[in-house]
Symmetry: C2
Subunit: 106 residues, 2 copies
């Protein structure tokens, strides 16, 4: 998936010793997205803004904070996380790749 | 380091089981670059076009094919590789990050 007319940051943000990495882009309308990779492991992320996590490669298991339900998302699927919340994401094998967009509401 | 008015590919190219990853961008003039991460290890890459590898984070050790000399490159430094050649790059610790540009000649 390509994004045109963007400003791309070449240096990645590195989380969990590099098990999760992201690159930021800024779109023409000023909005920002990140895309990146998730190596096998279990990670918790907190949100400030609400976000949509679109999986573009691999597969992950997601549990939203405060929920007992886990859902599996594969390439072409997405999940949304409310603002000021969080989620635990597990990649069991291979590498998950994602695009994260900040959204107004969930 | 940011690149403006580019088309960015969200999905990474994954090499060596994810120990080396790159994202491609296309600039306004139609030229392409990649940027990415190199996790600890030793990797050999072959070139088709000549390229400039700029290190933007971490440190790596590089030996060009056919050379006995190894050189260390840290953030802010670069090395160039001729077309139809190759190089062995070692990251001993941490994560190296790079921008790769295709160039006319070395």
């Amino acid at each position: 998936m390509q994004f045109s007319n963007v400003t791309a940051e070449a240096k990645a943000n590195v989380y969990f010793d590099g098990k999760v990495v992201s690159h930021g882009i800024t779109l023409e309308d000023g909005s920002t997205k990140t895309f990146g990779l998730i190596y096998p492991g279990v990670y918790h992320f907190a949100t400030e803004a609400a976000e949509r996590m679109e999986i573009i490669d691999g597969e992950c298991i997601v549990v939203l904070d405060g929920s007992d339900d886990s859902s599996v998302y594969a390439a072409g699927q997405y999940f949304e996380v409310p603002a000021n919340a969080g989620f635990t994401i597990t990649v069991s094998e291979g590498i998950g790749q994602y695009i994260c967009s900040y959204i107004e509401t969930v």
